[in-house]
Amino acid sequence: MNGTNGLLVLAVLIGVPLLGGFLRGVDRKLTARLQGRIGPPIWQPFYDFLKLMGKKTLISSRATLAWACGYLALTLLATVLFFLGQDLLAVVLILGFGGACLALGAYSVRSPYAHLGANRELLQMFAYEPVLLLTAVAIFLKTGSFQVASVFRQEGALIHSLWPTFLAVLAALTIKMRKSPFDIAASEHAHQELVRGVYTEYSGKSLALIELAHWYELVLLLGLVFLFWARPWWAGLLLAVFSFFLEILIDNILARLRWRTMLYFTWVEGMGLALANIVYLNLIRGLL
């Protein structure tokens, strides 16, 4: 690893959670306004984080804490690898391992609420993981490489030929951001749930670590959206911001659906679009 990469890693480690926490704050404020509440200050996620970190550690199982650390560490690693321009497929797989850690932590103690949440977290992974894997394949077909860095060497924007895949990613993004209608394992703060499914048995520091991981994850996902219009960079940024606000809007106008609907939607609509996109690109590749 050379000096520039070292600086980049440092920037990702510090900058990404700041951005992620800020976005979460915007999300909470905006959602509150949409619900006719005043809402917390923009910086509330950071206050929450600090408060949770200062809590005394009370646990129902030591393993829960370990899996929370695993979730954070793997999400962080996936984010770092993504911003270093590494293999996109590897990033998706590592992110999947991270998500599984969250479920495993919930399974680590015999708690009915946590188990239900973990089961549903698994169903969510079952829904979005294939979509993300196929997205990596679709991006490969345009760039000729699985390395994220290759997107920036590409002439023009991916979204011109990959718009069906982009729509599929939006569906996966809804699940990954834990937004309605697909927030079946647990919803985010904005919905003010009392018992939060998969997070039921996480508390104090481990909950703080999970919050932190969510910040990394959010920025990583928006980064994935950014890739679709990476040149010029401001277009990608606009696309990411647009997607972010779109998800908040969807979250607030739709109610939670059942898991079957989620699977049906992501597989038939999401994967169907991505697959159609891939088949088309493959045909083009065959003709040229």
Partner: protein, 650 residues
């Protein structure tokens, strides 16, 4: 050491040791015999790998002509025995297939082949064969050692008057020799002999307990594998008619002849599918779990099913660029998806493992069908790591089974407290099957990249199958892991590990160590073992590998950061954080808990209601009853398409 001696040791030592064990009724003597054989066999396998990798080019080895004649007569003896089995158990499908095989074999030997046909060379020793021999001899030997602990306890439950272990170890240890012969054979007649011998060993091992269920499962395994045998003889007919020889290496080299060889290659693929328990033949492997657990471990990890995928990998270069190759890719990927989906609804641990085996073998076959250097490397990586992980998992499940008296996943709840050592080993095994950067999943990663880079028009379908199958496998592994992990805070559970058998725990821990070392050093493994094998098969590998990871021009996976980060994150809190008694809180039960260490809540009238949680099986969506007919139908149709495609091509 001279090569011919090395081969003789690898093939004959286990067979001789197996035959010797028939007369060994003292357990100390049996232990000495099995341990000695295991040690020598593993050493010889390493030696063979060193020799073949050192020489660079594949080494041929000829045998005396009388040996070939002997093998031919033994073929007929085997057919006669299968015929006897068919009539003895009134299973006329077995009898009919055996008779058909006998007729075809007679036609081949006495009518088509000239008298005294010599095939040069009899054995071919190349890196692919060495990898297989390593897998068979090292992992297989460990499983035999494990059986030394398992079988006495297994028999204690059966209340036998006289131990049947001599017969059991005869076939278990002998199996290794037969497999070694199979992967080194170049003469198709020899390969066929070893092939049928594995069918025999498998049949005898499955029926070992002599129950009705065991006998039925054994007969099912027999008839399905006999179909493969018939297809193999048909393939030999066609190959001899086209090429005038029965050398496997000639088949691969002359593949440029194209059309004429497609049909025999399709028949050989069918042979491989039966042995590798691909859809629609998966039911024999699922039935095989009635056998004692060392048998399952052996069949799934290092022998039997691996013979099937070995044959496909061996033939892959011959298929290069053909439509048959694309058909194999679609078929394999379909099996991967189907078996992964079926595994979600299984409540019996061994069935989950079996379906995961079917899935991974399908993925290996898909890789062979994708047929690029990266795909072949991926296939070999999956093969090696699947053998390590699955051997480990079956042996661990065998330990659970003897501790719990059940194979049900639901009964394994909270095993991490009740049987900590075995549970942690099992957790490592499952993580290694389900997650990056462990080898089995790295193989999946590489296979998906290979699918994307292949030029076949079918690749979107292959990629989609692999993507969904991969997500499904994540689901069934994680939910099983969840059952093992689920504990009640502070409750002192009854400890199940009262007796830690030195052979059972020793082999399981040893294999865990081997798995972890191999996983961390996967880049080196790819560079030193896998790439030479891919090169020797005739591919020009663009795959890059160093000690930190491996990849292709399209993407690279650096392994150690993931191990470092995941390992530190998961282990550090467990090692550094010491929880005191007062730090524990009961689980959330709406505030109606009885006590911290009590998994119960106050229900109606303040009566205590015990808390129960169960796993997720979703059998309404992915139950076998619902999926099986469709999956079998589709599998059968794909098989027919493969044969048709080859037939039309010819």
């Amino acid at each position: 050491m001279r090569l011919d001696w090395l081969v003789a040791w690898l093939v004959l030592l286990p067979i001789v040791a197996g035959l010797l064990s028939l007369s060994v009724y003292r357990s100390t003597l049996r232990k000495a015999l099995v341990l000695g054989t295991a040690a020598i066999l593993a050493f010889m396998a390493v030696l063979l790998a060193a020799v073949t990798l050192g020489k660079g080019s594949p080494q041929g080895l000829d045998t005396a002509p009388w040996l070939s004649t002997l093998i031919n007569w033994l073929d007929f003896a085997l057919v006669a025995y299968f015929l006897y089995v068919g009539f003895r158990w009134r299973h006329y499908l077995v009898a009919g297939l055996a008779a058909l095989q006998g007729v075809l074999l007679s036609l081949l030997e006495f009518w088509q082949l000239p008298h005294g046909l010599t095939v040069h060379p009899t054995f071919l020793l190349d890196p692919l064969a060495s990898i297989m021999v390593l897998v068979i001899s090292v992992i297989g030997s460990l499983i035999c050692v494990y059986a030394l602990d398992y079988m006495p306890e297994h028999e204690a439950h059966l209340h036998l008057e006289r131990t049947r272990q001599p017969l059991f170890f005869c076939f278990l240890v002998g199996f290794l020799g037969v497999m070694n012969g199979l992967v080194m054979a170049n003469n198709l007649l020899w390969l066929f002999f070893f092939w049928e011998m594995t069918t025999l060993c498998c049949y005898e091992l499955i029926r070992h307990d002599r129950t009705e269920e065991a006998q039925a499962s054994a007969l099912r395994a027999l008839w399905m594998n006999l179909i493969g045998g018939v297809a193999c003889v048909l393939a030999m007919f066609l190959i001899y008619r086209t090429l005038g020889t029965l050398s496997l290496v000639a088949v691969v080299q002359e593949a440029s002849l194209g059309g004429a060889l497609l049909l025999p290659l399709a028949f050989l693929s069918l042979t491989a599918f039966t042995k590798a328990a691909q859809v629609p033949f998966q039911s024999w492997l699922l039935g095989a779990m009635v056998a004692p657990t060392p048998v399952s471990a052996l069949l799934h990890s290092s022998t039997m099913v691996k013979a099937g995928v070995y044959l496909v990998l061996r033939l892959a270069p011959a298929l290069f660029g053909t439509v048959l190759s694309s058909a194999l890719a679609v078929f394999g990927a379909f099996v991967y998806l189907a078996a992964s989906l079926l595994a979600i609804s299984q409540t019996v641990s061994k069935r989950v493992l079996a379906l995961s085996t079917v899935a991974n073998l399908g993925l290996i076959i898909a890789c062979a069908g994708i047929n690029t250097d990266l795909a072949l490397a991926a296939a070999l990586v999956i093969l090696i790591f699947h053998a390590l992980s699955k051997g480990l998992l079956f042996m661990t499940v065998g330990i659970y089974e003897q501790q719990l008296g059940s194979r049900d996943i639901e009964v394994m709840e909270g095993l991490v407290n009740r049987s900590p050592v075995a549970a942690v080993v099992g957790i490592v095994g499952m993580l290694s099957m389900a997650f990056v950067p462990f080898g089995a999943v790295l193989g999946k990663w590489a296979s998906l990249e290979a699918a994307a880079t292949s030029t076949s028009a079918w690749f979107p379908l292959v990629a989609a199958f692999i993507a969904v199958g991969s997500a499904a496998s994540l689901v069934f592994w994680v939910k099983w892991l969840g059952r093992l992990l689920s504990t009640v805070p502070l409750r002192e559970e009854e400890k199940l590990e009262k007796r830690k058998g030195v052979y059972a725990y020793g082999t399981v821990l040893g294999l865990t160590g081997l798995l972890l070392v191999a996983s961390v050093l996967v880049g080196g493994l790819v560079r030193e073992l896998v790439l030479p094998a891919v090169t020797a098969l005739g591919y020009q590998p663009q795959v890059a590998a160093n000690w930190s990871g491996w990849g292709s021009p399209y993407g690279f996976f650096t392994v150690w950061p993931v191990f470092l980060v995941a390992g530190a994150a998961l282990l550090l809190p467990l090692l550094t954080f010491r929880a005191r008694r007062e730090d524990y809180r009961p689980v959330y039960l709406c505030g109606e808990n009885l006590a911290v260490e009590e998994a119960a809540f106050r229900g109606i009238g303040d009566q205590p209601v015990p808390l129960e949680t169960g796993g997720l099986y979703l059998s309404a969506s992915w139950g076998e009853a619902r999926l099986n007919p469709w999956i079998n139908l589709l599998g059968l149709m794909l098989l027919l398409v493969i044969l048709l495609v080859a037939g039309v091509g010819a």
